[in-house]
């Protein structure tokens, strides 16, 4: 209880949290007739950390792109709730996607810049966010002077800086080595604890999804669809000990089994 009270953004039980976004029976069929996503429904509430887990080509990126408004659903609706909107979005891609000609600080400034806010008026917030990801000393550096993991942190800082209602992350750590990846996973969790951010996180990794999220949507390919939702009841903040706990191992096994059942031919989970 004391821990919950100390957090800046206490997270009440899921049913009480305000909804952010609802996907209702969303279908996405591409021109070639590829069904990338079939009847996907998803309710995102404030403070959720949802992982989309599935094999390559099951429509994870498609789901994120639909939510980000980069394309329209073929059928179904995506509804933003409670005054949230697509403008209120942070995105982290698989690559850091930084502007090489701009300093770290200027890169993080971009979402503010597009809103017409000057660097000077937002510098405090930018520095605060860079501190959050541990890069305050590199504000004036250029992306090429940073390691892969540091670039990813800049990308995360850019997604966080406007304090968006929802953050979309598409396999952000897939290109990094295991050690950096675990470090960034830990950092991401402490960020979440500090900011109470709502996150949809795409990953190929069972362990990453169990470690990070409170809900895992396991997806299958051809056609892309959600076959099962697995809850991870462990409360935040989660420490390193979570990685070694028996509950973690049990959920990881369950998730892994579900994932493998999707790969077996002819299997259809309900």
């Amino acid at each position: 209880m004391a821990i919950t009270a100390a957090r800046p953004d206490p997270i009440p039980s899921p049913e009480l949290r305000e909804p952010v976004l609802r996907m209702q029976e969303v279908d996405k069929t591409f021109n070639g007739g590829v069904v990338a996503l079939r009847r996907m429904s998803l309710e995102v509430r404030k403070g959720d950390f949802i992982s989309l887990l599935g094999p390559s080509g099951c429509g994870k990126s498609t789901a994120l792109r639909l939510i980000a408004g980069l394309m329209r659903p073929t059928l179904g609706k995506i509804v933003w709730e409670g005054g949230a909107s697509r403008d209120d979005l942070g995105v982290v891609f698989q690559e850091p996607t930084l502007m090489p000609w701009a300093t770290v600080e200027q890169n993080v400034w971009l979402p503010f810049r597009v809103r017409g806010e000057s660097l000077r008026s937002t510098r405090d917030r930018i520095m605060e966010t860079l501190e959050l990801v541990g890069l305050e000393k590199f504000a004036k550096s250029y992306p090429r002077e940073l390691s892969g993991g540091m670039k990813m942190r800049v990308s995360i800082a850019r997604a966080l800086v406007t304090n968006p209602r929802l953050i979309l992350m598409d396999e952000p750590f897939a290109a990094l080595d295991e050690i950096t990846r675990q470090k960034l996973n830990d950092d991401l969790l402490s960020l979440k604890a500090k900011t109470g951010a709502t996150v949809i996180f795409v990953t190929h990794s069972v362990f990453e999804s169990v470690f990070l999220s409170d809900r895992i949507l396991v997806m299958a390919a051809r056609p892309g669809r959600v076959i099962r939702e697995i809850a991870v009841p462990e409360p935040y903040p989660r420490g390193i000990e979570w990685r070694t706990s028996p509950e973690y191992a049990a959920i990881a096994r369950q998730t892994s089994d579900t994932l493998h059942s999707t790969l077996a031919p002819g299997s259809e989970a309900h």
Binding site: R65, R86, L89, V91, F93, T97, M99, P100, W101, A102
Partner: protein, 290 residues
Amino acid sequence: MTAIDSSTAASSTDKGPMFDEEEERIARAKRVESVAKWALPIIVMSLAIWYWDRLVVWNDIPHYVLPGPGLVLSTLIEDWPILSEALLVTLKITAMALAVAVAGGVGLAVLFAQSRFAEMSFSPFAVILQVTPIVSIAPLIFIYIDNRIVGLLLCAWIVAFFPILANTTLGLKSTDHNLSDLMTIYRASRWQRLRYLQLPSALPYFLGGLRIAGGLALIGAVVAEYVAGTGGIGSGLAFRILEAGYRLNIPRMFAALILIAGTGVLIFATTTLISHLALRKWHESALKRD
């Protein structure tokens, strides 16, 4: 334990001097290279000039066939009033043509990037202008355009503007797709997308085009003047070469030629410097590696 220790110690003492030697060799090679970078071109150039001079002296070549370097230099100094005036004209036309080419090339590229229909409509014209040799269009231009300077400018512009247009168009299209998506997510306006994303992405491409266009503008200015012929006030270096040729004033031809070559080198050095200054902080092409 001790065996391992002694063996590593032995190998490290074995390796020590070897390693130093290697390092020293690399350092020496670097020093030699840094001197050679300047010294070699100067030495070779001096040798070539010296050989030119000897060639003239040994073979008793008359100066109306091949003047020696000394004579060319003295002509350059003697004729400086005429030549400098011509140089100024050529420089002015080249610089103006380049400036208009930059404005037109970048402007058209931005238009193409904004509207695919504009690109479909106008890029054939750009290509036709580019592939038609300037010498074959120039006479027509001088028939239709009375003002000599404007005609020269137009010729130089036609040659110079295409590399800028082509490169900048390519650059504007080479933006990172994810960054472009990010701009869409942030609801950036067309103008913001252009300013924050497309123009900076296109900068290295544009500068590459500028370096080519700089040389071409000079070529265009010179070639057009050969075609334009008749001189008078406002004649550039090319006309002075023609005129000197008619009068068999070969030393002056050489002097003017040297000025043209020098102008070309100057333009190349300037555009290279601009490119380096603009990109040195972030672009791969301008980064030092060690």
